[in-house]
């Protein structure tokens, strides 16, 4: 089976893994957001919409103000704002969080294209010039390490940021009091409330944080990897991130491994000029894999106990 042999050969190249890491990070950021949000007990399937709106406003800000850092900030703000809508609707109004998440995704898809028409007319959205994109950074000495140097240390700045956030998320969630509180609120909000923890504040914070992370992801996608905005450019990554979060059993590093696997699939497919793989089966793969994981073939996947249940004081 020549494709298999070709794929094996490909797996030995640094380029492949370098691409894998980039694709993985695009999924990792929203997945981490999902982990944080759901650990605090708020189901969040709105990553797709938050990334999309962040991408749109990030590109627009970069085109108008020619400053990629400012634009990234705008993207994060857009993500956070949309997340706060989800937070308010879910926490304050106790809406069904899945419905709210779906509504956000539809809203973002419709609004972004609608705004393209209003902001740009039927012209091109235009593109951001090379100089105003999130820069690639090669670490001076470390990138000379054979193989690993290219894979890890010749990446876009956002990849490094994401990896730092990954470690931070893990440390905060599992080694700090804040993390303990977040998890308490997700597992036993009534007990946490009695212990004096502000359940609402923690949940709002967690959801908005997920919005910020999706904002970074949107910026990375639109003004880091690409240089423009096209309708629906997030292409379902928010949902794959959801799958990664579950695959990773709601832990940061677990999600990262899942993102690497999904990213690897994409990186392999990128080479379809030289390897003949059916695009359709490969596209199905992340989803089939998640189903396999959920079927308990890789252990049980259980979410935080009170995930998705709006907190009503005194309800338990």
């Amino acid at each position: 089976m020549t494709p298999v042999f070709d794929i094996l050969k490909l797996l030995l190249t640094a380029h492949l893994w370098q691409a894998t890491l980039t694709w993985a990070v695009l999924l990792l950021l929203p997945a981490l957001g999902g982990v944080i949000s759901e650990r605090s007990g708020v189901v969040n399937i709105a990553m797709e919409g938050m990334m999309l709106i962040a991408a749109f406003f990030g590109v627009t800000a970069d085109i108008f103000w020619h400053n990629v850092w400012l634009a990234t900030g705008v993207a994060m703000l857009a993500g956070a704002l949309l997340a706060s809508v989800h937070a308010v609707v879910s926490i304050r109004f106790r809406a069904d969080q899945i419905v709210s998440g779906i509504a956000i995704n539809i809203f973002a898809a419709g609004l972004t294209v609608f705004l393209i028409g209003r902001f740009y007319g039927v012209q091109d959205v235009g593109h951001v010039s090379q100089a105003q994109l999130l820069p690639n950074v090669d670490f001076p000495l470390l990138d000379k390490i054979p193989f690993l140097g290219q894979v890890v240390f010749q990446q876009n700045v956002m990849v490094y940021v994401a990896l730092v956030i990954l470690v931070l998320t893990h440390v905060v969630l599992f080694r700090t009091r804040l993390g303990l509180r977040i998890r308490a609120v997700g597992e036993q909000p009534q007990a946490a409330d009695t212990a004096g923890i502000n359940v609402y504040l923690i949940r709002y914070g967690a959801v908005i944080t997920s919005g910020l992370l999706c904002g970074i992801a949107g910026a990375f996608l639109a003004i880091g990897v690409s240089n423009t905005f096209t309708p629906n450019m997030t292409d379902g990554r928010g949902y794959i991130a959801l799958a990664a979060m579950i695959f990773g059993k709601w832990t940061p590093f677990g999600a990262f491994i899942a993102c690497l696997i999904f990213g690897l699939g994409q990186a392999i497919y990128d080479n379809n000029s030289i390897i003949h793989i059916s695009p359709y089966f490969l596209s199905m793969l992340p989803y089939l894999l998640t189903l396999v994981v959920l079927a308990g073939l890789v252990g049980r996947a259980t979410p935080p106990a009170n995930d998705g249940v709006p907190y009503v004081p005194g309800s338990e």
């Binding site: 189901v43 399937i45 809508v85 609707v89 109004f93 106790r94 809406a95 069904d96 969080q97 899945i98 419905v99 709210s100 779906i102 509504a103 956000i104 539809i106 809203f107 898809a109 419709g110 609004l111 294209v113 609608f114 705004l115 028409g117 209003r118 303990l180 998890r183 308490a184 597992e187 036993q188 379902g236 949902y239 959801l242 799958a243 579950i246 059916s278 359709y280 089966f281 596209s283 199905m284 989803y287 089939l288 998640t290 189903l291 959920l294 079927a295 308990g296 049980r300 996947a301 259980t302 979410p303 935080p304 106990a305 009170n306 995930d307 998705g308 249940v309 709006p310």
Partner: protein
């Protein structure tokens, strides 16, 4: 202290008040949408006027044919009813079926495949066969999620989303360079045999003129009757059968139902199977009644997702779903006319749909009613979403760890 007696209002008025929340939600959404339009420099009245024209054939000022608009709305309405039911039924059991789209796709694929491979069979045999095939395929598709939920507690939201994607890519595999493709490069399948076609309600003739246009432009087909029957079956199933009782019981409290001897896992699986069958039927009806072949358009079809809004807006009742489906069908038709006449991107319709969803989910109307004195209903508000939709903790037994 004596409690004040609430006056007994006649049932008709009480039912109208029950409409208050969904109706209010729709109006609120339109108000916010109007604000967005105004802020970006468009005229909300022209936009909504065109929307109403395209949706209901009322108030058309640019020469649209009202009968045509209504006909188009009904064609969009038909699958929304059946998929709306497919979402509403599991809701009652505390399950969230986001996979209606994938199940619909499975149904369309099955219908098309049978309709093509057995295309020479006559209508009395082929038509029921393709519809049945669609139902079976849809049921299987949903059944995967049902079984996973019942056995290992896998949240059906995620499993059904995954199955949606699998269905999409499978469709693509079949018709873009795949076994069902008509000819290389056409990205569509062979047409189904004539025996598998659902007749249109008006004769499909280019020469007969009805309401000023050739009769064939009115594409309303017999699937309309199937959809309405499906809604009736749903209501009957839910309220007049013991299975329906079990479904509702599971939705209210899984613990109590278990004590009463009802097998929760069995009910979950059966509910998903039936829901999938409804969705699959919707997909089969689309192929048999409208498209007569399988095309790549299903890759980006959104019927199953609109159905979620339809089920919610319709408050999970058969009549509600029919009315909500009518609204969404009208929005779909109206969006195109809004763009053609008023020059406003039909993406605004997506924004409106999202706002309606927010409104309902958050029960903004209820909260507004709380604040404005005198508006508060005396009766308990109807359930808008089952409380169990988020409590996946019930089916699984999670170890709560706080280390």
């Amino acid at each position: 202290m004596a409690r004040p007696r609430t006056p007994r209002l006649p049932p008709a008025i009480r039912r109208l008040r029950g409409l208050g929340m969904p109706l209010g939600s729709v109006l609120l959404a339109f108000a916010i949408g109007g604000a967005i339009l105004a802020v970006t420099g468009d005229n909300p009245l022209t936009a909504y006027g065109a929307l109403v024209c395209g949706g209901f054939g009322i108030g058309c000022t640019f020469g649209e044919n009202p009968a045509l608009q209504i006909s188009n709305t009904i064609v969009f309405f038909i699958p929304l009813v059946t998929t709306g039911v497919a979402v509403a039924l599991p809701f009652r059991a505390g399950l969230f079926n986001i996979g209606a789209e994938g199940q619909l796709l499975a149904g369309s694929i099955a219908c098309a495949t049978i309709g093509i491979k057995l295309g020479s069979l006559p209508t009395p045999i082929l038509l029921p066969l393709v519809l049945l095939g669609g139902m079976v395929a849809g049921a299987l598709w949903a059944g995967v999620a049902g079984v996973l939920k019942a056995t290992v507690g896998a949240h059906e939201v995620v499993t059904t989303i995954m199955m949606n994607y699998v269905a999409q890519w499978f469709l693509r595999y079949l018709i873009v360079g795949g076994p069902l493709e008509l000819r290389p490069g056409t990205s569509k399948s062979f047409p189904i045999g004539h025996g598998a076609e659902l007749a249109t309600l008006l004769p499909a003739s280019n020469s007969m003129i009805i309401f000023g246009l050739p009769a064939s432009v009115y594409r309303v087909h017999a699937g309309l009757l199937i959809a309405l029957v499906a809604a009736a079956v749903f209501a009957f199933l839910l309220w007049r059968t013991s299975l329906g009782y079990e479904i509702r019981a599971v939705g209210q409290s899984q613990k109590a139902t278990r004590y009463a001897g009802v097998s929760v896992p069995r009910t979950v699986i059966v509910t998903m199977l039936i829901a999938g069958a409804f969705s699959g039927l919707a997909g089969a009806v689309q192929i048999a009644g409208v498209d007569h072949n399988l095309t790549d358009k299903y890759f980006s079809d959104t019927t199953g997702f609109d159905a979620i809004a339809v089920a919610l807006l319709g408050l999970g009742s058969a009549v509600g779903i029919v009315l909500a489906a009518l609204l969404f069908g009208a929005l779909h038709s109206g969006g195109s006319v809004m763009q053609a006449d008023a020059g406003i991107s039909s993406n605004l319709v997506l924004v409106l749909q999202a706002l309606i969803l927010f409104s309902i989910a958050a029960n903004f109307i209820g909260h507004i009613a709380d604040v404005v004195p005198g508006l508060r209903k005396r009766e308990a508000p109807p359930p808008n979403a089952p409380p169990a939709a988020g409590s996946l903790a019930e089916a699984a037994a999670p170890p709560a760890e706080l280390a």
